[in-house]
């Protein structure tokens, strides 16, 4: 999947599920300090990303290291490299 598409779909998750304005969604934005998520939100972020990208990441240890939006883009990209992404879903 193209990096541009990953960024677009990830940002949609933040806009739809966490009501964050699009201008705040930069690769260096820290999801906790800058975007205001907490540990419970991360559980729901995982669910939303799973749904968006058709992937199972609940038990993926790499989720624990995510700090910035850029980390998420990279993580999704890596999943693509590992052929773990299925076709993106409509919702």
């Amino acid at each position: 999947m193209a990096q541009k598409e990953i960024i677009k779909m990830t940002n949609e998750v933040f806009e739809e599920a966490f009501e964050i304005e699009s201008q705040k969604l930069t690769p260096e934005a820290n999801i906790f300090n800058d975007l205001g998520l907490d540990s419970l939100d991360v559980v729901d972020l995982v669910v939303a990303l799973q749904k968006k990208f058709g992937v199972q990441i609940r038990n993926d240890e790499r989720v624990r290291n995510i700090r910035t939006l850029g980390d998420i883009y990279g993580f999704i990209d890596a999943l693509g490299e590992e052929n773990k992404l299925s076709l993106p879903r409509e919702n």
Binding site: L40, D44, A48, Q56
Partner: protein, 408 residues
């Protein structure tokens, strides 16, 4: 030990008849019905009752996402009603998080919509991986109390009474007792409920719902009427602000009424069938706790949901205590049975009747059923000074509650 006295000094509601108390009262004045045929309910196989009284979910984004994420409809309704009650009371912000103010909000269950969604997500594949963390907080039985307390920063006693249709009145009764004992100075008390086909369905499968008026929804429910055929579910939240009387007087608060008596008891008879003798016992004990006689009561706001058996038993209980001397009306014809919220929303309307010296009639009561005769049914608006009122709530599980309020 000298018990403290307790007054109601703030009210708030979100109901099928509007987003606040003023719109609720205006709609009742205009004899409006909030009952509608529910689109899409036909697809539930076996559901006979296709009518309900939905409340409007509006302005929810005024609650920040971080707080709103754990709230289903009923918690949002509760927050909105609580904010209204606090604003109406005019208390200082400092009381809210002082630890001297509490929050008691009851409901039959957690958010019905969220509970249904959680099962819909989980059960088809027996897969929990798509469940969000927030579903749990929306499904909890104390979701309304918890969310209101967290959102407002309440650090006093937080409780959730769960006794179906008596939940709100039990919440108010529990708050009354805590303030009387001096354990809290003020408490937001009330109830909330959320409409969903599974809620109506749970009454429908035991034939307690109205099913003959699906094409004529404003004609049901019909409390005490000869043609009543069951209850109609509604939703919303009703919150009253209870306050220790001396504190309210000291700050010059607007006082709606003093709570002077309360009782709750079980019937010990049957899980779903109402018992006139248990209802009578409950009301009598409430009057006794208020140290008043039946003849002192000026108005009874009945539970009367329009079920065949429930209305008959309540009418009998009222007849046994009050005869046909005291005006009685039910508000469920206007906005259905808001279940866990009903005790509070209906009390709020009753307090407005007390203020105005006017009793709203039982909507849809056209011809009193033979089994409900012998009490003073209010079928037209009645001008009447109300010094003391009794609010009844009777719930599944044989749980009864009655509250007595006196005009300040």
């Amino acid at each position: 030990m000298q018990l403290k006295r307790v007054v109601i000094s703030g009210v708030g509601s979100v109901s099928p008849l509007g987003l606040d108390v003023a719109s609720l009262l205006a709609a009742i004045e205009n004899k409006q019905s909030a009952v509608k045929r529910m689109p899409g309910w036909e697809r539930y196989r076996g559901l006979r009752s296709l009518v309900a009284a939905p409340a409007e979910l509006a302005n929810e984004k005024e609650i920040p996402r971080q707080s709103r994420r754990s709230m289903g409809r009923m918690s949002i309704f509760s927050v909105q009603a609580s904010k209204q009650a606090l604003a109406d009371s005019g208390i200082s912000e400092s009381l809210i998080s002082s630890g001297r103010m509490g929050c008691i909000i009851g409901s039959t269950m957690g958010g019905a919509e969220s509970i249904s969604e959680a099962f819909e997500i989980m059960l088809p594949e027996r897969d929990l991986s798509q469940l969000t963390s927030m579903k749990f907080f929306q499904c909890l039985s104390h979701t309304a109390a918890m969310n209101v307390a967290q959102y407002l920063g309440i650090k006093g006693c937080v409780l959730a009474t769960s006794a179906a249709c008596a939940s709100a009145l039990q919440a108010i009764g529990a708050g009354y007792d805590l303030i009387r004992l001096g354990k809290q100075d003020a408490i937001l008390c009330g109830g909330a409920e959320e409409l969903h086909p599974i809620v109506t369905g749970s009454f429908d499968i035991i034939f307690a719902t109205s099913s003959s008026y699906n094409d004529n929804p404003s004609k049901t429910p019909r409390p005490f009427d000869v043609s009543r055929d069951g209850l109609v579910c509604g939703e919303g939240a009703g919150i009253v602000f209870l306050e220790e009387r001396e504190l309210a007087l000291k700050r010059g608060a607007k006082i709606y009424a003093e709570i002077i008596g309360y009782n709750t008891c079980g019937s010990g008879v049957h899980i779903s069938q109402s018992s006139a003798s248990a209802m009578r016992q409950c009301i009598s004990e409430a009057l006794k706790s208020a140290n008043i006689k039946p003849t002192d009561v000026d108005y009874i706001n009945a539970h009367a949901t329009a079920t065949i058996q429930g209305d008959q038993e309540e009418a009998q209980a009222i007849r046994n205590i009050f005869g046909d001397d005291v005006p009685v009306s039910s508000l469920k014809g206007y906005f259905g049975h808001t279940l866990g919220a009903s005790g509070a929303i209906e009390l709020i309307v009753s307090l407005a009747m007390m203020q105005k010296g006017q009793i709203y009639p039982t909507f849809n009561l056209e011809k009193v059923g033979d089994d409900c005769r012998g009490i003073f049914h209010v079928q037209e608006k009645l001008n009447r000074d109300i010094s003391i009122l009794v609010k009844n709530c009777f719930a599944f599980g044989g749980i009864n509650a009655a509250l007595v309020c006196r005009k300040e």
